[in-house]
Structures are given as C-alpha cells and as structure tokens.
C-alpha cells in the first residue's frame, strides 16, 4: 500500500485528500475504519503520528497548514491509511497494513492550492529502490509573459538517511547539458526550468543517474492565478505487453552514453 505526500510548489499550499473506499469492486478489500497517519523524517529516523480514524466510505482533506505544528519545517509529509497504528519511530519507512488494489492503484488526490485555483493529480507514491535512475522526456514547458515553469522532483526511499544526487537537464537534439541541480532524497525538490535556455522548440531530457523520482511539471501564470500540473512517463511506458523494463534499460543505456556532460 502506498503513501500519499502533501506536495508543495511556488505560490501554492499542498493539500491531499484521502479516501477510505476502494477504487473498484473486483479486488478484495476490507470495509473497515482506518487510521490516518502522518510520517516524516526527524533526526535520521521516520516518525509517525496518528492524525485521525477515518470511517469506511469517508474522506479527509489535509493541507500543509494542518500539520505545521506536527512535523518539522521543510520535511516531506507523507500521509497514509492503515488498519493498525504505525510505530512512532522506525528506521525504515513503515510497511502499511491495509487494503491494496492494482487495477487501478488505490489513489488519493494530491492538490496544489493557490489563492486563485487548485490543480490536482490522482496519485500515490511507493518507495523507490536506492540507488536507482531516472530518464524522462519533458514537453511540458509553457511560454509567455508571467509564466513560470518548475520541475517537482519527488523522491521517497525506505531509508531516512539523507543522501544527495545530481539532476541533469539536457537538450534532446544537441544532447548538451543545460542545467544541473542537487536534489535530496525523501523530498519534493523544486527546480526552476526558466533559466535553462529552452524555447518552445526544445525537448528537455531530465536525467538522474543515482536517484529515481516522480517528475512533476508545474507551471504558474501570474504567481498562481492559473496553474498547470502533470508528470511525465518513464521510458517503460513507451512499450506494452512484454518485457517493458528491458526496453527501458536499453533506452537508458543509450541516452546515458550519448549525453554530453
């Protein structure tokens, strides 16, 4: 079962809505009340606190404002549902005891709210292996006056120990490096994409050779008056009905060898 982060982005407050009902009627799930927990890192350990008990067929919306007194500033807040309370302190991200579905995944609504609007994504996050790598092609930059573009690099790992990695952003045609940025595990790393020299003909390639992540793209018009938010696929999503991860490995090997550092 997955965790549900409270995201953050420029001009926005994150808000995450959890649902205690399954997304389908064909995968077996338990119709029980579940504990809502907040999990975060402090002193190199995972800490969990029970926020509520959510009745079956109910929802709860939790924003960044709701947890400011509960978690240290700047940490990634992870919400979860489970049938038993989580350990208060653990050396690894707790394994959740709860119903799980695959088709589709059990999801929450990960929202970003500005003073003018909300943009959201139906999502969840499972811990990534460490180390792991990321390659993705990113045609989401938007251009025009008052528009800003950001990459939100979301990583969650089992271990709470801090480690850093380098995100590199290349131009797909020239394969030239346009931008590098240090990122931290177990964080939403916010990377501005506006000073990389990309224009509306450029196809950015986002690479991280030692840390996997969900690459979200966030655009804002007039400091949050309008928002846009979506993620790109991993290379495995380019193929179907076979060994997709073999194809992903081939594609990563090719691009990692061709990019000009």
């Amino acid at each position: 079962m997955s965790y549900f982060p409270i995201l953050n982005a420029p001009y926005c407050m994150g808000e995450t809505t959890l649902y205690n009902f399954p997304p389908n009627n064909w995968e077996s799930t338990k119709c029980v009340d579940q504990y809502v927990s907040l999990t975060y890192i402090k002193n190199n350990l995972w800490h969990s606190v029970t926020l509520d008990k959510l009745s079956y067929l109910s929802y709860i919306k939790i924003s960044g404002n709701n947890i400011v007194d509960l978690a240290p500033e700047g940490v990634l807040p992870l919400l979860s549902l489970s049938s038993v309370e989580l350990p208060k302190v653990s050396k690894e991200l707790p394994i959740l005891s709860c119903s799980h579905t695959v088709v589709p995944e059990y999801r929450s609504t990960l929202g970003l709210r500005s003073s003018s609007m909300v943009t959201s994504y139906q999502g969840e996050v499972n811990f990534f292996p460490s180390p792991a790598s990321l390659l993705t092609f990113s045609p989401f930059l938007q251009f025009g006056e008052h528009i800003e573009n950001y990459l939100l690099f979301l990583n969650v790992e089992k271990s709470p120990k801090k480690r850093m990695a380098e995100v590199e952003i290349y131009d797909a045609h020239s394969k030239l490096l346009k931008q590098t940025q240090s990122v931290c595990n177990n964080q939403v790393n916010i990377i501005s994409l506006d000073d990389s020299g990309f224009d509306d003909q450029s196809l950015p390639v986002v690479v991280c050779e030692t840390m996997a992540a969900i690459p979200f793209y966030f655009s804002s018009y007039k400091k949050g008056e309008l928002l846009s938010f979506e993620h790109t696929h991993s290379p495995a999503s380019l193929v179907v009905l076979g060994n997709r991860f073999n194809t992903q490995r081939q594609l990563k090997e090719y691009w990692f060898s061709q990019l000009k550092r």
Binding site: Y19, F21, P22, P23, N24, N25, W26, E27, S28, L57, S58, Y59, K61, V103, P104, Y106, R107, S108, T109, S116, M117, V118, T119, S120, Q122, F137, P139, F140, Q142, G144, I147, A172, H173, D200, Q201, S202, L203, S219, Y221, L226, L227, S228, F229, E230, T232, H233, P235, S237, L238, V239, V240, L241, G242, N243, N246, T247, Q250, L251, Y254, Q258
Partner: protein
Amino acid sequence: MINGLIRKIRRAPWILGQKITQMPNDPHAVISDLFIWRCSQDWNTYFELLDLAGLFDNKGRHQVKVVFFDDRGNQFHQEFIDLVGMYRQVLNISKVLSVLKQLPSSYGTFCVFHQKSPNEVLNSEVFLTERGYVGYQYRDAPLRSYVHGNLDAIDNSLTPLSGASLLSRTYNLQYLLEVGKQYEIALTNASASNKEVEFKIVGFDGETYIKECATLRSKQAFVFPVKGLLNPSRLVIKSKMIMARPAVFCFDSDSMDVFHG
C-alpha cells in the same frame, strides 16, 4: 492453502480472459491510447508529438498517422504528419481539423500511430505504444492543462484492444466532487462492442444525487456533466468495461483543471 484456493476461485470470474489490453494480431502492430479532442469556441486541444523511434536512435525521417473519431465513434479524418526528430513538436488539433468545412462534433477521440517501430522494440517482442500528453486550452487561457495517456486502447488496424468484463464492474473514482465547482467526466470506450454505462454521483451519506445511463459505441467518448452539487460527492461508474477510468475536467470560476482518474 484452502483460503488461497478460495480467493483464487472467487477472483477467477474477474480475471479469466479479461486482460486490460489484448494482444494485437499483428506482432509488428503499434498501439495508441484513445485520446479526447475538444475543439470549439471555448476549447483548443494540443498533442505533444515525440519521435519515439528517434528516441531509440533509429535514424531517418519518421511519421505518425493521426486518426480522428467523432462523438459517436465514427472515423471522420486522418492525417500523416512528419516528425521533426529530437525537437519539441506540438500538434495543434484545432488547426489540423480546420481543413474540414465543418466539424462533426465539438469533441471526440483520436489516436496517434507511429509508422516506424524501433528495431529494439521489434526485437524485444513488445509493442510500441503512444501514451503521450494532451494539452487543453480553455477560453484562450494563457496556460494549458495537461493530462497523460495511460490506456493501451487501439492498434494501427483500428482494432480496439480492451476486452469486455464478464460481470459488471464498479469504478469508484477516488476524488472529492465539491460544492460550487462544475465537472465534465469524459469516458472512452476502447472495446470493440457497445457498452452500457451507468454514471452515479453519490453523497458520502450514501444517497444518489445524479444518475445517468449511456451506451458508448466503440471508440466513442462520452462527456457526463456534473453541476449544481449541494453536498460533497463522489463518482461511481458501473459498466462491463474492464477499466472505466475517466478523464475529469474541473471548472472553478474561470479556471479549468484536467486530470485522469
């Protein structure tokens, strides 16, 4: 062991012969999602074209075939488009369809078939699939709202690849429909046969506020409007589709946000 056997027997009517994506007959087939286009005074649709064969370093000029269906699932236009390699290439759907004297409807579906399957894909016994990114512009807003494809819906012989469920399935969208907002729930039928679909807007007290039934023809998109909600609610879709995952357009004042279920 007996419990495991009972679980398997209970699960059998939901899975036997009911794959989300059926294997195309042609081992060299290419696959596409069934994307939704919207073109009208209020809507423009854009598709982010990627040269998928080029990503695999397959040299040469590549093409895609884009096939359009109206709001009844009838094909009304197709076009071959040259890809420009490793540059960003945005297909302006309104512009593509402007060659027609009159559009048959203000929305429908389209699919994008790459004419060249990369050698690495052909050798790996997987199928190239287009699950790319659609951008929607509402009322000439300066930002587009993006949504990615995630269904391997149809192959390049225009054969739908989703099967039919033996039993009626319920897709419970894990999303909070809020008072004061309006929604348009867009669902496509990626199977070869007509599908009866029941849309229900249900309160968290269990009461059904809105109910609508529709028959979706093969390759058809259906848009179910939701407005005037008096209580927070959720969406339930009942059908014999294996995966009735909708795209949701959310309207709040003048802003629009789109996302997948």
